[in-house]
């Protein structure tokens, strides 16, 4: 199931909320959350839900051994992490590996035909962060399997992040307090996320596909540019919408997940971009790969290369993702060596333009899993089939208000409004604001429903990562 789905919005979520708040004790609420999460997951993966349960159980069962320092716990940690990574590797990368081995050796081994279990990239990383943190002594191992299962399978973040570390929500797993204002904030956040997905990301995706999925040898440069711009809008709104909805639902049920996006398209450098984009992934690699390898103190260049190779591969088992990771690794090294200090001395818009350009090229590499098509796209972008296409201008015109607003909301307008309201509203005003917000939420729900009706199935971009 996905969040932008009528059955989820009108059946699954309201039943979950009603049952959750009818239950009085935390332990009943935990059971409810686990039950709903398993149904949510099994809805999309009726078979691989067993793999999820198995993985969660094995890791939970042995994690108690990690609390004592020493050799034994180190071995247990190594074995458990190796198990998690092997499962990830088996399901996600075996096909890719076979394909390349066969190409290299001229053999024809048949790859195991697994489908990738939904969310495996996310939950494997969550479990690894838990194991490492327990072993480091940052958090105590969870004694209750139910609670651990709730952490791993929580449907808000199970399939598309953010990658929530156990230690951030360990207290909330054990016991949650009800804060009405906070729950209300969660509601509003959820509907904002839903709107970002349905009103912006889906429409941008349709427009991007119109240009990028067709015959690239006949695509005008303006079409190529608009296409990749639309894809940039789509991927940001899609993925950050998912995080918004996850964070919003987390707050409704008393969990606080860290922010995953911080307006990445206003970055002033590529380094800045990666501090703002998919934060839970880059900090994961920072804390569990980069720093343990020596960080900036030992073999920094090597460490950066490893991290970006892994980042690329994490996004998909295909060479273009490796290239995409390498591209960003190279740009970051470039910025570290001289570019960043140069950018710092120039006006800020120069850095913004630079990072926009870098990101647009990055999304091009990301989009085309077929390198021949990637080449054809860049040729089109450089004007191989002319520059202008009347259809592009008509399309832009037909979507001009939508496009202007979508681009504008890439900047932190909503936080600015929040701050202004905080500064200017009286306490009574704050109370009056709530019904207005509620009307806004309902209006957004109505609009999203209108756009969702007729679309029966609406997968998120980040599902298969």
């Amino acid at each position: 199931m996905v969040f932008s789905n009528l059955f989820f919005l009108y059946v699954f979520l309201p039943i979950n909320i009603i049952l959750y708040f009818l239950a009085k004790s935390n332990s009943t609420r935990n059971v409810i959350m686990v039950a709903f999460s398993l149904v949510f997951y099994a809805w999309g993966e009726p078979v691989w839900v067993l793999l999820l349960l198995f993985t969660a159980f094995v890791n939970w069962f042995f994690s108690g051994l990690l609390e004592s320092p020493g050799r034994r716990s180190k071995i247990v940690l190594t074995l458990l992490v190796a198990l998690d990574l092997s499962l990830l590797g088996l399901f996600k990368y075996s096909g890719f590996l076979y394909e390349n081995l066969n190409a290299l050796l001229g053999t024809s081994f048949e790859a195991p035909g697994f489908t990738l279990p939904i969310g495996i990239s996310f939950y494997s990383f969550q479990i690894i962060s838990y194991l490492v943190d327990v072993r480091r002594g940052d958090v105590k191992a969870q004694r209750s399997f139910l609670k651990f299962l709730m952490y791993v399978t929580m449907y808000h973040q199970l399939v598309a992040g953010p990658i929530v570390r156990y230690r951030w929500i360990a207290d909330e797993v054990d016991g949650r307090k009800v804060d009405i204002g906070d729950i209300w904030g969660g509601f509003c956040r959820f509907f904002v996320g839903l709107t970002k997905k349905v009103v912006v990301a889906n429409a941008a995706g349709a427009l991007a596909g119109q240009y990028l999925d067709g015959d690239l040898s006949r695509l005008a440069a303006s079409g190529a540019l608009v296409g990749i711009l639309m894809y940039s809008i789509q991927i940001y709104y899609d993925f950050s919408a998912y995080s918004d909805m996850a964070i919003g639902m987390g707050r409704i049920f008393g969990f606080h997940y860290n922010e995953n996006f911080n307006y990445p398209y206003i970055s002033t450098s590529v380094t800045d971009f990666w501090r703002r984009w998919h934060i839970s992934l880059s900090t994961f690699f920072r804390d569990y790969v980069y720093i343990p390898l020596g960080g900036k103190y030992r073999h920094q260049l090597r460490n950066i290369c490893i991290v970006w190779l892994l980042t690329g591969l994490w996004h998909g088992a295909s060479w273009n993702f490796v290239l995409w990771g390498a591209y960003y690794g190279a740009l970051l090294i470039l910025e570290k060596t001289f570019l960043l200090s140069l950018l710092n001395r120039l006006p800020r818009w120069v850095g913004r333009v630079w990072s926009w350009l870098a990101v647009l090229v990055g999304w091009s590499i990301f989009y085309f899993t077929d390198t021949a098509r990637l080449g054809a796209f860049f040729r089109a972008l450089l004007g191989a089939s002319g520059w202008s296409d009347p259809a592009v201008w008509v399309t832009l015109q037909n979507n001009i208000l939508w496009l202007a607003l979508s681009l504008a909301f890439c900047a932190p307008i909503l936080p600015a409004i929040h701050r202004w309201l905080d500064d200017h509203l009286t306490d009574v005003g704050r109370c009056r604001l709530v019904p207005l917000q509620a009307a806004g939420c309902l209006a957004l729900l109505l609009l999203c429903t209108a756009l969702l009706v007729g679309q029966s199935y609406n997968p998120f971009l980040y599902f298969r990562f």
């Binding site: 789905n5 009528l6 059955f7 919005l9 009108y10 979520l13 309201p14 909320i17 809805w43 999309g44 993966e45 009726p46 078979v47 009405i180 204002g181 729950i183 209300w184 509601f187 429409a203 349709a206 427009l207 596909g209 119109q210 999925d213 067709g214 015959d215 009347p390 259809a391 008509v394 399309t395 832009l396 015109q397 037909n398 979507n399 001009i400 208000l401 939508w402 496009l403 905080d422 306490d427 704050r430 109370c431 709530v434 019904p435 509620a438 939420c441 309902l442 729900l445 609009l447 429903t449 209108a450 756009l451 969702l452 009706v453 007729g454 679309q455 029966s456 199935y457 609406n458 997968p459």
Partner: protein, 500 residues
Amino acid sequence: MKLPETNLRKLYKQCCIRSMVLIVAVMATMGVFSFVLPKPAESLVEKRKLAEMPAFSLNALFSGTYLRDFEAFYADTFPFRDAFIEMGSWFDELKGIRGSDDVKIYAPPTDSQPQTSSSQGASQPASQPQGDPDGSGSSVPAVTPDDGSSSHPSSASSQPEQSSSQSDSSSQGSSAAPEVPDGYSSNGYFVVGDTGYMLFGGYRPVAEQYAGYLTQFARSLEGQAKVYNIVVPTSSDFYLPEKYQSLSNSQKDNISYLYSLYPQQNSPVITVDAYSNLERNKDQYIYFRTDHHWTARGAYCAYEAFCQTAGLTPVSLDSFEKRTIPDFLGTVYSYTRDQKLAANPDYVDYYITAKNYEGQVVTKDQPGVWQPISPWAEWVEGGNAYSVFLWGDHPVFLLDNLDIEDGNNVLVLKESYGNAFSPFLMANFDKTYVIDYRHYEQSIYDFVLEHNIKTVIFINNAFAANTSYHAERINYLANQLPHTAGVSAAGEGQDQSGQE
């Protein structure tokens, strides 16, 4: 957020709780509605059957198809669905402007949508278009730009008695043969002012295939019947503003190319230049603005051109009685839901082309059974008004002019463009047989012999002539072996088409 006074904090909490309860109540109420309200079976707006509740099986559950189909069903039958769709198109209009040229482009839907129709797939007897030679076909429209004949209103009860079976069968038939053109422009539909266009792609290798198959077929009939080929342009060639002509490839070039192949092949196929006569009459109402078909007036241009080529005298249009169905919003409208089109509907004129006539039909449901029927389904209205001609698309239709008994019979092999055209032939021929090659399963060769047909006319719009599905279908029927035991051969034919 700090609220110092406890009663204010209480007030704030109360506001939040009430808002949350309201929102969850709205969601839950709609959820309850979605189960207790009666579920519609078909959508008049989209002219298609809605997804049905899937049958449960453990196999379907574990393979994931059960829940996917359930979601499709849930979305297809969501409460107040038509109102929501209407709201969606209203919102679409707000997203931008049409500029000084008053133009709007509609993209074909993305991958997320065809799921809805996939559940119908099982019941579709004819195959979807095969192959996709130029690789742009990933973006085929989910709501196929087929015939206005698509589905008849479900309110068959208000119709003449014999109509109920017709309307049922044609609503199935129409969803069976989507007219999705190869090389279909990925730019989708284009609306200028109050006129919508389907943008032409065209693909010469398919045009060549189409021409080749017709030649083969004509050779097999040499000595028995003359074979004419009419390829009809759609409206974009005549009316698309100069500035936007580049959005759609030239149908004139494509048709000339296709016609030029016959002399090269030394082919017995006789080509009919409908294009020039349509162009001469382009100031008349020859195409609909909200539908991809031509009007009867447009079809008359092709009839005149045919008569000229065949050495017949066309009967003057004024001599026929004209009747009109108002307020026709056709396929281009139902695909785009464009507000400008909605505000300016078309009307459908049809001409009673004989004084004394009879009609008969063979439906998909009852192959081999000839049922009496009027040539015009005069009760149709709204989005279905094009189905006034021959009741939409049926395997075989017979138009019999009772005032001509000279045994000079004609066979029209057509897609839906042939529906408006065929009735004019009644004025010149004894019996006019009309076969929709997308729905017919038996040997056409046999049919020609059996009904003593001397003239065979292929009529297709330029999109169809550039679609390999249509070419393959014609070839398939042409190569159906002549048979003596009708029943068994028909059975085989159906099996084969199922495997296509």
